[in-house]
Amino acid sequence: MRKYLSFFKMRLMAGLQYRAAALAGLSTQFVWGGMEILIYRAFWLEHPERFPMGMEALAAYVWLQQAFLTFFALWNWEWEIIDSVRTGSVAYELVRPTDLYGMWMARSLAVRLSRGLLRALPVILLGVLLPAPWGLRLRVSPAVFALFLLSTALMLVVVCAFSLFVYALTFHMTDTNGVTVLSVAAADLLGGAIVPLPFLPEGLRQIAELSPFGAMQNVPLRIFGGDIAGADIPAAMGLQVFWAAVLIAGGYALMRAGLRRTVIAGG
């Protein structure tokens, strides 16, 4: 375990050195968040009674989504890992006494965390400074906040396990571009990246909520805003645990099968 922790720590520290990328991301997230709020505001002012979420819950969703974007943005693939499988240099990771799945998991978690930690605070600050109901209200009970944190951690594991599942697929295909593009599109719609899931039509919404994508940003962001509350919280988090387990088991099996038949071509 210790080696994976050390690797995680090293990747986390290394990730924190990319200041320019963080600044560029930050400005995008300010503008994007502001734009979203303006659009929802227009709809809300028109028909507040037909809104499927409270405006405050929605504002919390938007600002936290922008603050922690790198935690769950599925398009943040680790191309270095995909390339290493495609070119075969992944073999050289096998000359170390480590488990490849564990190393990749540690690395994915560290990269997402380090990117998110650099960006989160300024966005949260901006959200807090905005007036109600367009800003981020931090008045949540300690219990809800604790559940939010736990659910965020689960979401990170689900997202990384999903990424690793795709990386493991690379062992079995010449090109994973199709899979990456399709899963990003699915995650954007079914994960609540484009609009929060309550805005989806009945039927599609239920499918989305049960899908692995619904176990990502959807859960913590709605818990924080109070949109998922009471008995719905354990149900939603249970689903996160379920998908984390399924994706880890599936990815692990795919990787084992891939490594067993892998032939590393060339010197």
């Binding site: 210790r2 080696k3 690797f7 090293m10 096998l94 006494p97 590393i264």
Partner: protein, 265 residues
């Protein structure tokens, strides 16, 4: 002790002629060609020997190293390195193994070399005292000094190679595989690397298997040479044997070229 007995490995390669017609045809029926990389490879290397493993490109050198490192599973045959079967006991086996691939980097490219070393210490579970001892010795012999604070991507090739070799030896492996360790190095770096390998072998009794195309490496380091071609072991002996098998009065380099021609490889 490294033992290989009757190791065979065949690669299946998909082949087709160029052109649209053939591309369409290959959608329906694919032709595979079997390329034997190793045929009945058998040899034994006792502890503490430095062995040169030479042969032309495509002879099967890398395949052998990959099988011995536990990365690749052969089709048939037995292989043990200090009693362990590499691909079956991979984790246990590689914990006692050091590998340097001249064409690839094992260091994490965006962090200072020392951070990679500290991580390797945890990965191989090297006790603090042993680690410090090994690190001090390697730093002095390989002249690492300030390099340890530099990110790996900022190092020159020669500097990086010295760090790679140190990285492979931090956990005090019993067996060291070097795959073209001097490729692309300048004269000074080559000499440094060579004298270090000799020193390591003399002091720690490390068994070294070295693949190279540089015959000066062989002259300087190896008491024994295995010459392979087309997946077969063709010659097993010291450099004197190589020279005496080839024509008169040739350098090792010329002798080897002569042997390649003679064996038709």
């Amino acid at each position: 002790m490294i033992e290989m007995r009757g190791i065979c490995k065949t690669y299946r390669v998909r082949r087709r002629e160029a052109g649209l017609g053939n591309a369409v045809k290959s959608l329906f029926s694919r032709t595979y060609t079997e390329i034997p990389a190793l045929r009945d490879m058998t040899f034994t290397i006792p502890d503490g020997q430095i062995v040169g493993y030479i042969g032309p490109n495509g002879a099967g050198k890398s395949t052998t190293i990959k099988i011995l490192s536990g990365i690749l599973r052969p089709d048939s045959g037995d292989c043990t390195v200090n009693g362990l079967t590499p691909w079956a006991d991979r984790k246990k086996h590689v914990a006692r193994l050091g590998v340097v691939f001249g064409q690839r980097s094992q260091l994490w490219w965006d962090v200072p070399v020392m951070e990679s070393f500290l991580l390797l210490k945890d990965i191989y579970r090297v006790p603090e005292g042993t680690f410090q001892g090994n690190l001090d010795r390697l730093t002095e012999l390989l002249d690492l000094g300030d390099l340890l604070k530099t990110p790996a991507r900022m190092l020159s090739l020669g500097q990086r190679m010295r760090c790679e070799i140190a990285a492979a030896l931090l956990h005090g492996p019993e067996v060291l595989f070097l795959d073209e360790p001097t490729i692309g190095l300048d004269a000074v770096s080559k000499l440094k690397v060579r004298s270090f390998i000799l020193e390591q072998n003399r002091l720690c009794g490390t068994t070294v298997l070295l693949t190279t195309h540089d015959m000066q490496d062989i002259d300087a380091l190896c008491s024994r040479v295995l010459l392979i071609g087309k997946g077969r072991l063709l010659l097993d002996g010291d450099t004197a044997l190589i020279r005496s098998t080839a024509g008169e009065n040739l350098s090792t380099e010329e002798s080897v070229a002569d042997l390649y021609r003679r064996f038709g490889i």
